[in-house]
Symmetry: C2
DNA sequence: ACTGGCACTCCTGCGAGGCGAGTGCCAGGG
DNA sequence: CCCTGGCACTCGCCTCGCAGGAGTGCCAGT
């Protein structure tokens, strides 16, 4: 009974603090939520909660604010993911349905998430380590220069030009193109390099250097695809982080410009199919104390292709944000699967 | 004589204000620059300069700061573009030489510019309105689904999938591919649509719907290429804008997330081969009062492909920024020409 | 176990006052 | 005619001190 009320109090504190951004005191608490007891009683509960580390006072005589531990308990046990309104769902759908290609899907997703949550959105490109080669194309630019295009089944295209040590006649180019495609088309990116093994030996010695150059470029492209790309948007929402500005915003902006940081923010969670919330110090960067990350994987039914998420101050609306992130991930997953 | 000194005073005010970010008074001015006259004399000059609108006082009794008009005069007549140190030049070169493809070049350029100027960098992708079709590739995904890939001579690749109303046999696909290429390969993007005119009629009536679908998709791709892309980086440097924060940074961050805004910031200048400086109110957005844009075109000798530039507070180091922007544009131009 | 009352802490806002930077003007000298 | 030193004046900024008030902890009573 007492335990129950203490949790109610914590929930009330989190909700009030999130909406007002001000430390919340016992009196305002009983006014806004009908807890059925007097402020004095609440004060006792608050003292206990503080003792246990769930809340803290910024100053001796101010209201309480939740600690990271408090938010953690709130997220784990005191709140449920808030479903979107049907209007929001329709907005998501119509916003994403207009996308024409992968870049567009990712771009729209970032903007959508940022708008919906009014925070900073991060979206990872569908990972290609699990995707496969759809087609390899060779285009002669000059007689000693070839454009290599690698197309994957997730719709990504990687191109690079190859300088050849010698000339390459058109017939050879066609031959090489078809041999490459027989070797790697439909094969997972990770396994494709193995399939290219004996290929060079099939050509006569005088052609081998040129063939070798093309194969080498293809190998590089394949490997490079493993480098995962990440897009960020909604940085203007950082302004809402608080009036305690420069200290907060500077490191965050810096962090957000580094791909590696963004990847780790999304990446390190365990099971990608489950919504992950990392609160304050729980995330892997010192500089990002005071910010929380809500992320989840998206993809087809059979496999998660990548992750997306939202980054905001620890004092964020967790239920709402979690709802938005989950909903967007589902729609994007569907769309990626169809494409 | 008097005119000369007045200009010296203006130059000194701009330089001091840019480096200290504080209104500069007559006394500190004579101390830091050896003007050879007394503060009282300077005060007279300052009064004149203020009368003419080149400088202003934030408060009745504070030093002077340059107005937009003052900066304009400074840029036009009182300063010269500062050449980079050889160390900086080497840094540019080694930083850009590692680029592997167009995306990489643009990405590196943005980061480089942001680092070099410690401001916000904006780089436009090489414009395709002037570039031409290098190759059109068709890849069958299923019997009624085709992937269309458009490759341009600036190295950009645009792909999209096409749903066909009916099946398309492989032979037809090959035929269509070669016809498309004969029609548009080497042709400027803007003119390519004209070349596709009678093409559909060459096929038998039962195939026309499918051919028509492919041609329509190609037309869309061609048109869409005209939409120019822009990349921005170095947003963390916004923090340096000033201690008068939220008002300044919020609108700027918002503006920077809109491609259209970025394009207009770079785009509207007259001759792209000449370094353009747009100061404060001179730029086309109300929200960006207080920010200046330094931009220039880059490209091959024969034609400018796109623009790049830097955005910062009006109180920026114009000579240094102009030097950096110009130098980077030259190197990028070379690299794009080679690729 | 909860409540009302009470003393205590300490943050916040506000106004007064002094300080100092910077100015404009004036009279004098080269 | 231009420059200079001097002087009075204006104002923004900082500091200080002083309520005011929100919130707490504790205690005694029900």
């Amino acid at each position: 009974m007492l335990e129950d009320r203490k949790l109610d109090v914590l929930r009330a504190i989190v909700e009030d603090y999130v909406s007002t951004h001000e430390p919340v005191g016992s009196k305002t608490l009983v006014e806004r939520h009908n807890l059925g007891v007097s402020p004095a009683t609440i004060r006792n509960d608050m003292a206990a909660l503080e003792e246990e580390g769930y809340i803290a006072q910024p100053h001796t005589s101010a209201g309480r604010i939740p600690t990271d531990k408090g938010y953690r308990l709130f997220v784990d046990r005191l709140s449920s993911v808030k479903p979107l309104t049907s209007a929001e769902r329709r907005a998501i759908q119509s916003f994403l349905d207009g996308a024409v290609d992968l870049d567009d899907i990712v771009g729209r997703t970032v903007r959508l998430l940022a708008q919906l949550t009014r925070q900073v959105a991060v979206v990872q490109y569908p990972s290609l380590s699990r995707s496969s080669v759809r087609h390899v194309e060779l285009v002669a630019l000059t007689s000693s220069r070839v454009l290599l295009v690698l197309i994957t089944n997730t719709g990504r295209v990687e191109q690079r030009t190859v300088e050849l040590p010698g000339d390459m006649p058109d017939t050879l180019l066609g031959d090489l193109r078809s041999r490459l495609n027989t070797a790697v088309a439909g094969v997972r990116l990770a396994e494709a390099p193995d399939r290219l093994g004996g290929l060079v030996d099939r050509f006569t010695a005088d052609l081998r250097p040129s063939v070798q150059a093309v194969v080498a470029a293809l190998l590089e492209s394949l490997v490079e695809q493993h480098e995962e790309r990440v897009v960020m948007g909604g940085a203007a929402n950082l302004v809402r982080f608080g009036p305690d500005f420069p200290q907060t915003i500077q490191p965050v902006l810096e962090a957000l410009e580094e791909q590696v940081v963004l990847l780790r923010l999304l990446g390190e969670a365990s099971d990608p199919s489950v919504l992950t919330v990392r609160i304050g110090h729980e995330n892997p960067f010192e500089r990002l104390t005071g910010t929380s990350v809500v992320s989840v994987g998206y993809g087809t039914e059979s496999e998660m292709l990548a992750k997306l998420g939202v980054l905001g101050p620890t004092r964020m609306d967790y239920p709402g944000t979690m709802g938005a992130v989950r909903a967007v991930a589902r729609y994007v997953g569907k769309i990626v699967a169809e494409a």
